[in-house]
């Protein structure tokens, strides 16, 4: 029954599992890791209840999980899996295999900090460090976005111009285990939205024999990699188009970036994930004090939406980049490095001030974000074009 919007309380993990249920993938091969466990637990309930037709493959590690996903995807199956932090790191080798073999696998990431020391809480480093693996990468702010991005990712990944795997992530515990209001879609809506046939050009079939994953020497490797880059370039427009279609179908606005009160803003926050939600709340507080604050939330991280960001930031004097990922010895935060390259030498760009925060699940509080705003203003006023700080820790 398309068009009827049902509202339920769901945690981020439950939202992802419920969205995956509507997608009804052919194969799910996953290994549990906190904070993703609820996704696969709920999904395996759906499998055993017969609510989905999925073949669920319990595997012995994340490396095996992604390997099983690649094998399944090469037969033309629609494949879904989930992981986090150490699990994502363990499957890292196969992430490259998946994208090299052009398997449109969808991976839900429950963003969690890396060990050592052991920490199970929300931090986006795990997904950030996969940005070079030729996967589409999206971040979500809430359980609703986790739900929506599950469905979106399949359509982007399986587009014939793209045919690359896609990962999307929400912070562990802060989003995955927190209950929020989620508007769900109907099965019919999702079936109508997603393409029926798997559009891959080459897949294992009994009628035709081919080889996948051959040894390739110096003379052909780079060409095959270039194919992936061309797919990524096309993925930018494909994502925008898919998000437009999703907006129309669901009534919820989905765009590669979200602009919040940026039109007349002078100083802006740039962030992704749950921190973006806090940034928006702080913008409101600052506005009520007369400050011209704005916020930009990044949903699509790879391919990097340089054009949209450049346009959104026109007129902004300085940006506070709230980055919940760890990088060491770097000229800027991970997001700052990408942003800096995207804006370098262009006209009318703001000064960039990176703030590494929230590592290990520590929450960057609203008063702390307000302090960051003031700090950025001071940096800008003394003429600093780029800075990097760690905030919210005790020295």
């Amino acid at each position: 029954m398309s068009g009827i919007r049902e509202v339920k309380g769901m945690t981020g993990d439950e939202a992802i599992a419920n969205a995956a249920k509507l997608v009804n993938p052919d194969v799910v091969a996953a290994y549990p890791i906190t904070p993703q466990t609820i996704i696969v637990e709920h999904f395996s309930d759906f499998v055993s209840n017969g609510e989905v037709d999925t073949s669920y493959i319990p595997v012995e590690s994340e490396h095996s999980a992604m390997s099983a996903c690649v094998g399944a995807s090469l037969t033309g199956a629609r494949v879904f899996t989930a992981s986090a932090s150490a699990g994502l790191a363990l499957m890292y080798e196969i992430l490259y295999v998946a994208s090299g073999l052009r398997c449109p696998i969808v991976l839900a990431v429950a963003n969690r900090a890396f060990s050592a020391p052991i920490n199970i809480h929300g931090e986006c480093t795990d997904q950030m460090v996969c940005r070079d693996a030729s996967w589409i990468s999206l971040f979500g702010e809430s359980a609703q976005e986790a739900y929506d991005e599950t469905i979106l990712s399949f359509k982007i990944a399986e587009h014939p111009d793209v045919m690359l795997p896609a990962m999307f992530g929400v912070e562990g515990f802060i989003v995955t285990h927190a209950l929020e209001r989620v508007e769900s879609l109907s099965k019919q809506q999702v079936e109508d939205f997603l393409p029926e046939s798997r559009a891959a050009k080459y897949r294992f079939t009994p009628d035709e024999i081919m080889s996948f994953g051959s040894l390739v020497l110096q003379d052909y490797y780079m060409e095959i990699k270039r194919q992936q880059e061309e797919a990524m370039i096309k993925a930018y427009d494909v994502t925008k188009k898919v998000m437009e279609e999703f907006t129309e179908m669901s009534g919820r606005k989905m765009e590669v970036i979200e602009e919040y009160k940026l039109e007349d803003a002078e100083y802006a926050f740039i962030s992704y994930g749950a921190t973006a939600g806090n940034a928006k709340a702080v913008v409101d507080r600052l506005r009520s004090k007369g400050e011209k604050a704005g916020a930009l939330k990044i949903r699509l991280y790879r391919p990097f939406p340089s054009l949209d960001i450049h346009e959104a930031l026109s007129g902004i004097k300085a940006v506070s980049i709230l980055d919940r990922s760890a990088t060491f010895g770097s000229p800027g935060t991970i997001l700052q490095s990408d942003l800096s390259t995207a804006l370098y030498g262009k006209e009318n760009v703001p000064t960039l001030h990176g703030y590494i925060n929230g590592l290990g699940g520590r929450v960057l509080t609203l008063p702390e974000i307000e302090e960051i705003y003031q700090k950025t203003k001071e940096y800008h006023d003394v003429g600093m074009t780029t800075t990097l700080d760690w905030v919210g820790y005790r020295s």
């Binding site: 090299g100 073999l101 052009r102 045919m163 891959a200 050009k201 080459y202 035709e208 024999i209 081919m210 080889s211 996948f212 994953g213 051959s214 390739v216 003379d219 052909y220 060409e223 095959i224 270039r226 194919q227 061309e230």
Partner: protein, 109 residues
């Protein structure tokens, strides 16, 4: 030298190699069509070749399954024959022949 089947790679693959295709023409993901391996004459690598005594051969097909290059062919009498164009001389067939019908003969000086 015996070469029982005229093994040639598919025409599209030969063009691919000859014209040195780039990223826009290579199949997505570097998928190669069946029998592209026929373009690589691995027999040129070897110092030894398998020589099969058809009188001793019992048609068990061990060598057929074990050969890593698929260079053993069963002839019309179901006796094993070595395709010398592709035989790399590894000796696995000889080691696994229960009838001792295969001899690895040196072919280079």
């Amino acid at each position: 030298m015996e070469n029982m089947i005229d093994k040639k790679p598919p025409e599209e693959f030969e063009r691919w190699v000859k014209e040195k295709w780039g990223s826009s023409k290579i199949p997505e993901g570097g998928v190669v069509p069946y029998h592209s391996s026929y373009g690589y004459k691995t027999g040129a690598w070897s110092a030894f070749k398998a020589v099969i005594d058809k009188e001793k051969c019992i048609s068990c097909m061990n060598c057929f399954y074990y050969c890593p290059d698929s260079a053993i062919i069963m002839d019309e009498n179901m006796k094993a024959t070595c395709d010398k164009v592709f035989c790399k001389g590894c000796g696995i067939c000889s080691k696994n022949c229960p009838a001792d019908a295969i001899e690895m003969r040196r072919v280079t000086r």
